[in-house]
Symmetry: C2
Subunit: 716 residues, 2 copies
Amino acid sequence: MKTINFEQEIKSLLPLFQPESLAIIGASENPFKPSGQPLVSLINAGFKGKIYPVNPKHTTLCNLPCYPALIDVPGSVDLAIIAVPAKYTLDQLQQCADKGVKGVIIFTSGFAEVGPEGAKIQMEITELAQKTGMRVCGPNCMGIFSSRNALMANFSVTELPEQVLVPDFLGFISQSGGFGAAIYQMIKEKGYGFSHFVSTGNEADVDFSQYMGFMARDNYTRVIGGYLEGVKDGQKFINATDMALQNNKPILLIKAGRYPAAAKAAASHTGALVGSDKVYSAVFKQKGIIRIESLEEYQIVLSILASNKCPKGKRIAILATSGGSGVALTDKCSFYGLEVAPLQAETRAKLDNVLPAFASSANPVDITSAILTQPGLLEQCAEIVINDPGIDMLITAYWALHGDRTNLEQMVRVSKKTDKPIFNIVWGPEEAALQALHFLNDNLIPAAKEVDFAIRSLAVLADYSEFKTARSNKNNEDYSIQAPPSAKKMAGEILNNLKPGAKLTEYEAKQVLRAYGISTTREVLTKTTEKAVQAAKEIGYPVVMKIMSPDILHKTEAGGVLLNIATDQEVVESFNKIIENARKYNQDALVQGVLVQEMLSGGTEIIVGAGKDPVFGSTIIAGLGGIFVEVLEDVALRVAPVSNLDAREMLEELKGKKIFEGVRGKEPVDKNALVEIIQKVSRLVEDFPQIAELDINPLLLFPKGAVAVDALIVLQ
Amino acid sequence: MKTINFEQEIKSLLPLFQPESLAIIGASENPFKPSGQPLVSLINAGFKGKIYPVNPKHTTLCNLPCYPALIDVPGSVDLAIIAVPAKYTLDQLQQCADKGVKGVIIFTSGFAEVGPEGAKIQMEITELAQKTGMRVCGPNCMGIFSSRNALMANFSVTELPEQVLVPDFLGFISQSGGFGAAIYQMIKEKGYGFSHFVSTGNEADVDFSQYMGFMARDNYTRVIGGYLEGVKDGQKFINATDMALQNNKPILLIKAGRYPAAAKAAASHTGALVGSDKVYSAVFKQKGIIRIESLEEYQIVLSILASNKCPKGKRIAILATSGGSGVALTDKCSFYGLEVAPLQAETRAKLDNVLPAFASSANPVDITSAILTQPGLLEQCAEIVINDPGIDMLITAYWALHGDRTNLEQMVRVSKKTDKPIFNIVWGPEEAALQALHFLNDNLIPAAKEVDFAIRSLAVLADYSEFKTARSNKNNEDYSIQAPPSAKKMAGEILNNLKPGAKLTEYEAKQVLRAYGISTTREVLTKTTEKAVQAAKEIGYPVVMKIMSPDILHKTEAGGVLLNIATDQEVVESFNKIIENARKYNQDALVQGVLVQEMLSGGTEIIVGAGKDPVFGSTIIAGLGGIFVEVLEDVALRVAPVSNLDAREMLEELKGKKIFEGVRGKEPVDKNALVEIIQKVSRLVEDFPQIAELDINPLLLFPKGAVAVDALIVLQ
């Protein structure tokens, strides 16, 4: 349902990107002003549609007739740019609506970013857009550039790039005008073509996710990029990433606000809630979004994608021209998670055949200074190594020589014969190195002089390949854990009859968990000492006894939990003691009874829980209990729904994961049981979105199976 | 004693760097051969001393008289370069000794790096050097370059640099010829002058540390740099770093082999044991050595040092020209451990005074695109911000404009007026950015386009300043914990009477610990059940009983430990049981008796230990016990001696350090007691170097004091 709406939303963006007619309200012919730059650029770049300048002060602008008001424009208008002061903006937007304009770009600033008064006017823009179905980009934005149709509807990209090595490549969306323009400039300079470039501004109507969705569906976009500070609607964002995955388009985002200081700065920059970076990080993992950490990495990742050779795995070979640089490259590969893999005996034999005696054919391969004296050696070695079936990619480092392209041409030839990426680290005097890098870049051979950026880029792309491979396996993408209708009914009887904000007692919460197939301690809620003794006998000694009251959530604090109760008499005493303590703790507390519970020993303490993120909705956490969570905050987080693979990856990222394999003489525990419970919790909070918080703490995980010992559920 | 020797060793290197006469054995005049390059370069560069080519095949070379053999050279020879095949090398070296040559550089390869046979000849080189006192650089090296005297005694640096911005700056030592040459080239290109550049080769005689020591004492070296794979003698390395610290010279090392794959590659590259990177890492921390992670970082750290403005602390201000780039820079600062500190109210008021209304004066300061329209704004803002007393450094990011140096000149002016570093991130079209970077670099203003390298470089230099400040406080540098003579005597009575390889029982080990003032559990070694009961009564129930035998070190495994013994009768039964179990476990074991020990409860489990590193000698570890050490390997390591500050820093780097402050309702524990014990263990292993291994596990740390519960000492 949501997805269908989202498809429609995306389609409605077409007039923003492919208008056949365009009006500029408040137009001028001064190319240094936002009101003039689009007009001049559209004409110079050869925009194919009709252009209507609108400004009562002129009769012509740039030799085009200029209209006093939008209503005076003779034909229909697909897209309008509004470049008038803030106080006139809403009126002009209304005129757009009256004229039947389909898309509007508002350059004007002075709205939500300046304070509450501006936010109020912005809200009216939003309402007008929603009421009329007219799509609005901005306000407070730099506009839209589309290359195919020379749509220069912005004041940042003023001309079509002269030379494009890879046309129809990157669609870029930026939540910062200035920083976005800087990124545009750097990527353009490398020759990578932009399909579209959008500065989103305050997103009064169209938001970051809708632009992403548009580019996921767009035929001229191969890669989706962006600078992101935050989205308001997580579900839309996920819809857009799913579309990109379906269409096999990588998403490369610079996401600001990883650290609190930056998140604060971003919030003050956009005037919007940016959400928790931990949750974004979870979504990025679940959806294979590539988080780009620097402008240099952006260029390099794009250069590898532009070459159409993504590393399929993490096994890298190194070809160096000195022992020292081979060692240094090996360190970097390890640091960034790539495996400097052993070469096959056959490969080494072939290398030994061409290398001088003092060289080394082990990975890192050291071809030594023989590269200078043995023509073709670099090419021979590269070809031998890249054809090793145990290798996913090659990185080679050599010295640029003034005016000598021998090595470069060798690398171009080798690269053309393989579908695995070969990355060239080129060192040397600045000018020679730059020329070499330009030559390689022009031949679509990935190359740089910075080892760190290069290897990290290869590593993130290897991760991306592994993400896609793992997700292409249906078993991994299994979200199929479904509760039977009876379970939903049972849980619903409890959850649907409670008031908003209600807190379930442990006893109630565990009934819900059991309904969803999660084992809990055996337990009986008792209201008299007699019933308690009877229950204890049935369960078997020793038992635990706990106060059950919706008004007492911190049971231990209230003296409401007694452990290791071993006899009938102790049960009676404990029952009375617990009731007495509860009265003392909160004399108005509604007491439902005393829970008599089996006392488990052994097992590994785990916590599994769920929460709500204001942007992305239900989140799921899992971690090792006790000091792991308290001291190390060692928990893994995902957003619901969590697939089988997601759950397994959660456990893999825990620092204390060694515990699962058994330490201090313990047996390994039942990880599969935990994976299933994580998915069941995910299913439960999806079936009952009114659950704001769920905690199973501890869950005891055994060599076979797992049992929830305590649990808490809080409704919204 | 050691240090005095080291001073002499260093002085003896002078002829390698400042010879007044130089012979080249096996000389040629072909500048493309190692045998010819030095001769040509020495003449071209204007070396002031005498040059004697030696080669029986020639009578003149490069217009200089050429001698058939070294003996034929008329005057004395300070330094000889040997560039003859490996098989003639030893003979020529002997001739150098006969001639009274003081320093020799052997270019020739084919020694330890090619296998055992080569290693044998190399050993003879070492012996000849040691016997004669003649100092040898190499073999298998590229030689030595010194700039002051135009000493081109190498085949890597062939000419004096044309333009040197900062003369007498960097002394560089490289354990890789090729990689070292690459580093040389990149640093030279920035205009930073080398005092000396050494390729160390196989280090048959002079080693990395001696060159470091030489540069620490050298008047023309301000900064010591190097590419390091490993040293053989850790003490010498430490002596050299201490000298550098005394002389206020930063040490910047690229240390290879952080990860196993690279360590393996380095070992095969140098043919030498490279040692544990963890121990190097500890030494770097204790001695303030700056570990450089990339060539780019090398250039940038040098550029900041060259400007003579090192950040004194970690508080950074950001001046950006777009909100987005300010946010992105803030994230990077947080990532690399810098603090984007709040600006003082006065600073913000001054900023608000000059900034446009839509800009932001909070750190990160966003001066917006007003930088383009308000001349002088960048300079004004930078000056206001850098003068904030709560700020240690400033980073600013702006766009390079073709042919327009306005911003650059502003930054030069501001930088000249402050002693705090101002770093310039310059973005823009490649050519404009390069020109801007060159201009700033030529004015000794630190600048780059890569944010990551820039901020990481500022962070490592802030760390270095903090290291020096902390060490300048005498209390922090306190190594004064001394054992009284009686303690040394008591411990000596036990330790000096044991055979090499002996393993002390817990009872013996704890006596040693107590002698050094480390509290242990109260305990009595008993040989009869009667004595055991008596002991238990004195200690107070409950007690622990343990088998004591030098042949049973894994006491628990042998059934030799019983806990929670509460009555006289249980003592008797336990005694007999333990003896019986010990007999079953190892019927030949020498049993010294049964240890009756107080049973402690509560406290936080800690481990403190000592070990031996083949390179650096005694090492000290400390960590949290239990799963922290077993699952997370959460231990801090240092080499002995450990100062008070070192010990405190060890605890600071533990992942689980939150435990010390008290978690789960526990009181904070006595960190000072632990700091003292770490230092006492350090003192103990220094006083008794025969201790190969020492383990206190667990040490129970209480809110007041700490008690060793179990201990182990193994001798070498």
